[in-house]
Amino acid sequence: MTEPTTLPNEPDTGVVSPAAAPVQPRPVLAAAALASREFVRFIRQPNRVVGAVGQPVLFWLFFGAGFHKSLQIPGSGQQDYLEYYFPGTLVLILLFTAIFTTISVIEDRREGFLQSVLVSPIPRWAMVLGKLAGATAIAVAQGGLFLLLALTIGVTPPWWAWLSLVGFLVLTSLALTGLGFVLAWRMDSVQGFHAVMSLFLLPLWLLSGALFPNPAGWLAAITTVNPVTYAVAGVRRLLYADSTVALPADLPSLPWCVAVTAAFALVTFAASCKVAGTRTTGDLL
């Protein structure tokens, strides 16, 4: 395709007359723009899909199969490890996706896309909402795919639990993407985020009852205050909503899990709006 060397001589330079009233921004439409962009970008980079789903699924298969005979989760009745480890893997997929997607804030800043958003007349909360909604859509899409694997291990929740599970995944993803956003916003390199991931985010997941049920001592204290615990527990509750399978006795109740996760999502959303609303020279890293 050849490039035109001169501009065509149009009678007018545009249909837009600047003398007309200035545009009226619509925050929800603006958020939709950012969310939709996030999703389109994701679909066009298949390696991200593989990265976010592939690793947890492999872990699930390997750990599950490896510990199958050697580990019996106390108080988990007839569950084998593959089954026990399933909700944790689901949350890990959400966590990975949340992280990979919010890391893109760093890229957006470096590649320049973010600056055009920052000078547009949209409130910062709309920008945050767009980013988190896009990331959440991606996470739920991936988590939802993995969720179907539950059928292969004989877990068959009733229809209403499937629907509730999707809703609960949305809530959990919002909370985790919000957390990722707060951490990524001020960072100037993806490398910096890796440290946060291995020292903070992964331990958060490890101590959530995903790998082993509520331990004793100081680990128990961490597990209790760790909000991710309630995400994993909520998924577990819903997966076995109608089942006779005995769940660990100290597993938090479903309403409590939903309440904690909702609060977690609200707090991280508010924190994201706060960090993104503070204008500094750091916006230009």
Partner: protein
């Protein structure tokens, strides 16, 4: 109402002072350039005007709205083209414009019509369905411009718009900017470190070391320097300058290995100087003063020199 009023603006980075007591006014419908070397403060001023960084000291009004308290008003009326590309390379040209429209509250038929019109005006309509990453630098720049103008801004701010453009593309750009100004009265403000680009502006502010050192039309600025510019190169230029001053009473400025003199009837001075110092002078040229001469006259530095404020 002026498009931009900057009053007493100073800006400090942790390491250095970027702007010091800058005052200036840009009229509506003007093409106005900030010319200066790197570190002169023009990009900082651009960022303040674009509401990208918060104002530290002084005040800036854009169409009467204060950037500090009415950033929202300002943002609806400005279109910004950054030096670094702001297009999403993974999206198509049309998608980039669509999302930009959504950010500004445009949607549906209006948005489609505007995008199409913008792309046609900039000669990139046939690439609407292509991903930005497949476009050449020049075409990306056009899409960037379409993106910035999509919502019909009254003020277009551009940071080093010619960066990465070949000469033909630069001519196109300026043709478009003039159309935009002439037909729609859009005020255009741009930063540049290219003297020949600043020449094309209606008025320009020359910035050095965080200050506005000159502000006028290119013609007036050159006329102020007056006469002809004589450039003399010599091995020991300092000694030569002293001798020329002693012999002819001409005072010039020494810049690196050259001496710059501004005199009426420069052509008459050439033979006299060459005859007086046949061995010292390595080369000598005469020309009309350029914006570079204006810069030298105002700052005592050559344009390429990195001049920054002491911290």
């Amino acid at each position: 109402m002026p498009a931009i009023e900057v009053a007493n603006v100073s800006y400090r980075y942790p390491q250095r002072q970027a702007l010091a007591n800058v005052d200036l006014t840009v009229n509506e419908g003007e093409i106005f350039a900030f010319l200066g070397p790197n570190g002169g403060g023009k990009t900082t001023l651009f960022r303040l005007l674009a509401t990208l960084v918060p104002l530290q000291e002084g005040s800036i009004r854009i169409f009467g709205s204060d950037v500090r308290t009415q950033a929202d008003h300002v943002r609806r009326r400005i279109g910004v083209v950054f030096q670094a590309p702001s297009l999403d390379k993974k999206l198509t040209v049309a998608e980039n414009l669509k999302y930009q429209g959504w950010l500004y509250g445009l949607s549906g038929q209006t948005l489609r019509q505007r995008s199409q019109q913008m792309l046609q005006n900039l000669g990139v309509a046939d690439r609407a369905g292509d991903r930005v990453e497949t476009l050449s630098g020049g075409l990306r720049r056009r899409v960037e411009l379409a993106k910035a103008c999509l919502h019909g801004p009254r003020l277009l701010l551009m940071d080093e718009p010619s960066t990465g453009l070949d000469p033909a593309a630069r001519i196109d750009l300026w043709q478009y900017l003039r159309q935009l100004r002439d037909r729609q009265g859009v005020t255009i403000v741009l930063t540049t470190h290219l003297l020949e680009e600043a020449e094309k502006a209606d008025r320009l502010a020359i910035m050095a070391a965080g200050k506005v050192v000159a502000l006028d039309s290119p013609d007036n600025l050159r006329a102020e320097v007056g006469g002809d510019a004589i450039t003399v190169a010599a091995a020991d230029v300092v000694a030569l300058a002293a001798e020329i001053e002693a012999k002819f009473g001409l005072r010039g400025s020494v810049l690196g290995e050259t001496l710059r003199l501004h005199e009426a009837s420069g052509h008459e001075w050439i033979p006299r100087l060459v005859e007086a110092f046949p061995n010292e002078i390595r080369s000598i040229t005469v020309g009309k003063p350029t914006l570079e001469d204006v810069f030298i006259a105002r700052t005592g530095h050559r344009f390429g020199d990195d001049v920054s404020l002491p911290s």
